[in-house]
Symmetry: D2
Subunit: 319 residues, 4 copies
Amino acid sequence: MKKIAVLTSGGDAPGMNAAIRAVVRKAIYHGLEVAGVHQGYAGLISGKIETMHLGSVGDIIQRGGTMLQSARCPEFTTDEGQEKAISQMKKHGIDGLVVIGGDGSYRGALALTEKGMPAVGVPGTIDNDIPGTDFTIGFDTALNTVIDSIDKIRDTATSHERTFIVEVMGRDAGDLALWAGLAGGAETVLIPEESFEMEDMIERLKSGHERGKKHSIIIVAEGVMSATELAERLKTSANIETRVSVLGHIQRGGSPSARDRVLASQFGAKAVEVLMDGKKGRAIGIQNHQVVDYDLKKAFEKAHGTDTSMYQLSKELSI
Amino acid sequence: MKKIAVLTSGGDAPGMNAAIRAVVRKAIYHGLEVAGVHQGYAGLISGKIETMHLGSVGDIIQRGGTMLQSARCPEFTTDEGQEKAISQMKKHGIDGLVVIGGDGSYRGALALTEKGMPAVGVPGTIDNDIPGTDFTIGFDTALNTVIDSIDKIRDTATSHERTFIVEVMGRDAGDLALWAGLAGGAETVLIPEESFEMEDMIERLKSGHERGKKHSIIIVAEGVMSATELAERLKTSANIETRVSVLGHIQRGGSPSARDRVLASQFGAKAVEVLMDGKKGRAIGIQNHQVVDYDLKKAFEKAHGTDTSMYQLSKELSI
Amino acid sequence: MKKIAVLTSGGDAPGMNAAIRAVVRKAIYHGLEVAGVHQGYAGLISGKIETMHLGSVGDIIQRGGTMLQSARCPEFTTDEGQEKAISQMKKHGIDGLVVIGGDGSYRGALALTEKGMPAVGVPGTIDNDIPGTDFTIGFDTALNTVIDSIDKIRDTATSHERTFIVEVMGRDAGDLALWAGLAGGAETVLIPEESFEMEDMIERLKSGHERGKKHSIIIVAEGVMSATELAERLKTSANIETRVSVLGHIQRGGSPSARDRVLASQFGAKAVEVLMDGKKGRAIGIQNHQVVDYDLKKAFEKAHGTDTSMYQLSKELSI
Amino acid sequence: MKKIAVLTSGGDAPGMNAAIRAVVRKAIYHGLEVAGVHQGYAGLISGKIETMHLGSVGDIIQRGGTMLQSARCPEFTTDEGQEKAISQMKKHGIDGLVVIGGDGSYRGALALTEKGMPAVGVPGTIDNDIPGTDFTIGFDTALNTVIDSIDKIRDTATSHERTFIVEVMGRDAGDLALWAGLAGGAETVLIPEESFEMEDMIERLKSGHERGKKHSIIIVAEGVMSATELAERLKTSANIETRVSVLGHIQRGGSPSARDRVLASQFGAKAVEVLMDGKKGRAIGIQNHQVVDYDLKKAFEKAHGTDTSMYQLSKELSI
């Protein structure tokens, strides 16, 4: 291994820059050359590849987004696209690749590895939905952004004694909603992994109101239903008035939290070690408080799952 | 004047608590008694009135929302409702009232004054739309919340080279959008006070793109049209892909900015002075950097207007 | 177990309120009565004990500090003081106690347990220095406060090409400095657990400067030496000019981060479960991503230690 | 006027980047060429001058510090230094200069103007101490940073019932301390512009304590005395225990507030207009809510003064 490359792919997540910095500096520390690929797999195919130096990643650890940018690339799902990418890499003398992104990005890493180009996956997504790692880069920052928003909404909810529905990201994964519900003191949390009965929820809201709750906050992951739909159902089934807030894209941005910067630094450095060790087709993660690498294929096996004890706790503490 | 009361009415705004604190402490400093009315005019009618002490307003200067809460009160728009309120105030020995809120709240203050109960209006609304004052309590905080959100969205916009439409509050008033556009470095700002041509806007977006702009941010005040509608029009008229973010209720909450706390403190204190001076039917404001009081009726006269030089500047700086 | 009590002791830490809330609600959820003790062990002796209800802990999850307050209590280190406390608890019908605090607080919990009053320790301190738990309540928030400050200082450091020394809390524990160094991209981190040579440090600073580093940030834990002393030594030994920033008490306050709120909620609830299970002399912690309880005495055994891999990584990434 | 240059000088202040952006874009909008000078007057002498384009100032409006950097330059206080600078400017075809900084920077602008090179001063300093303008760029951000710190310290002050002394920047100017005192709800504010009696202050602290104040916060501008000295004096004269927090350099950094970004944008644009109009030796400011230009010499005349009504109000509201 003489020269490695790094790219970011899929939706951007806070901490991706910290991970890029770690890859670059760790590689240089160990005497490797390192290149940055712009715009994800699209840039890998078209050759948007630049040598990176220590200074290339100065003053980026604190920045949201990704300095290498990201882009969708349907071409890369084809054999032809993947081979073009490998040619480009060979042309640039690249022996290994670090891919920072979500599960879509991991499929690309696996394809490259199977075609002979060692690639390692670093989990960068706010959704915290990669099997094999307890946390992904960006989750902690997104969670704090959601909490900050809920705190603001609570001011109005309390002042006007209103019920608010806050829709957070998470099509298939409820971690953001679940953690936000627990940290935000929400009365109700709806996540894709747990079924719920409209009647139970209405019952909870009503009994809370009877006990004198000044306000209620309901968190719904977008994958369950939209906040607007939920508001309509509460109105039609139980005549409960609610206000709706869809947090949207602010959840993706912002300066990464300390935790995300540390995780990103550890993951980026580990990815370089894994490539230097000649390992192939590995993913990086944190399991039980330890940074680890594991078979990239495990990342596709099944959903990361949700912590039912947290779900239960959230219910108990919001009585 | 021996005893005054204070209430908050209309939508809550950050800094209302700082204003309540100022009213209470300024009154006590001058030897007056002071009462807090809960839930706005509704509480005034139903007698949710409590004596307030120095300690009642301890540790609230930094809190969003309003500790006295707010509520809608259709009954108060009637003569009967207003007379009930005056009876309650007399029963509690109250000689004057400070009303913190927006223009709807001011109408109530005017009605009470005309019925013999001196009331003074303190502008508390994030919309910055009260004629006669350059700034309202809550505007600066809401503006910073919007800017913080735009900064987050810009991370993603840059990383993915996308155009984002950000919808901010403001049904009739464009100040929040206009200031946010200038402070957020938005390419385009649409406000109710200024007409715009779809063609010009499309032209701007396209020429910016040709000059190499990595991303564009469009701010639209909700009173112009919804972000969703604008996105559809850009898509159908010019095949421009955009992402939409509706900031919603987070704009109303949060710990007040320093500026809002200072303004609220000055306004609350001035309101007490005005009542002590025996003035009737006055509104408090800041004009040309001076805290002033003026005829409450002027607050209804015409729109606060928008600063066309800022609008022009916003265009010039986002080329 | 029919009635339990909760107190906070030692230096306040963000998330203590979330832990109090969890103790109160979890207890009520399971049909227990619960009392809050004001001002720590001092209040336990003097009987500042109040019954708490669901509403007593409404709207506190997001607040820094501790609503139950904390205070030093030399009297409680004596047998007599401890017996007074037990009498008070018996008088109030209290069967068990949750103590939220640092290691000093734990000694009190152990003493009570040994005198027959079951007490459980919940780790609440920004120092992250309790053996047996990977994280303490407050650490994550303090870390983010430090990072936020470093980001601000970096603006000036870069603009003026200066070297800054930032002193963070940690008399015996270097976790805050170490994590902050890694997350803040500091060039050098000095912690009590690792010896350092002044010469190496100077060498690092000089070689960084020669390679074109625009600025340097040095983090020093207060237990190593003061920032002022370090600045003087760098000046006298190597004529290196630095600026000094002592972060001080801001590290203790602020709204808790999402992570601290979740941890506090889990810990508080677990403490109630442990008491309900009739366990005595236990401490709550998180080990390898699992919330656990363990023998309170283990919390005194030896230092929590520091993560040498993080220390090494911090060095490698700041070349 | 065909080509202008812009530099930042003196201590960095949040919003300087927004001002640079405004100068560059406004100039280009009007068909001028524009150059950026690195490292202030030192770079002007040594010729660190680069042409700036629209893209040179992309994505900087939200960044603290100054992308053009700043540096001290004793050489520039000499005639020789100033002439070198003018030669460099002529060499680069520069007809006018925008200087963003504090009063030291203004002296340089005046000297250049008197030597025939039109220069205009834009007030960029967190101290808010430039005569002729109600606000300087950076003040609002620094104020919010101070307030945020006070809010954190208040958490601990309340939890432990302690008195804190918070030292803020301001050698000769008390605006930051005064505004922070009012916005932070401090009990006592000590500023250079107002004399104070130790006895009165002690009296205030004691009477507040007797009335049941849970905590006290004292703000002291560094120009009055250090927080440490004040703590010692309170201890020796009245046996009052306090804790000390020196906010230090965090006050200079951070992403600029919305207000500072707007002010910086207006000031930068106005500076370009003033140069285009052929005016010489002008300073930019905001007076009574209007952006204005005025004779640069007025900026040296006398202290900006402090608002005694705010000082009085601060006392009245903290009873």
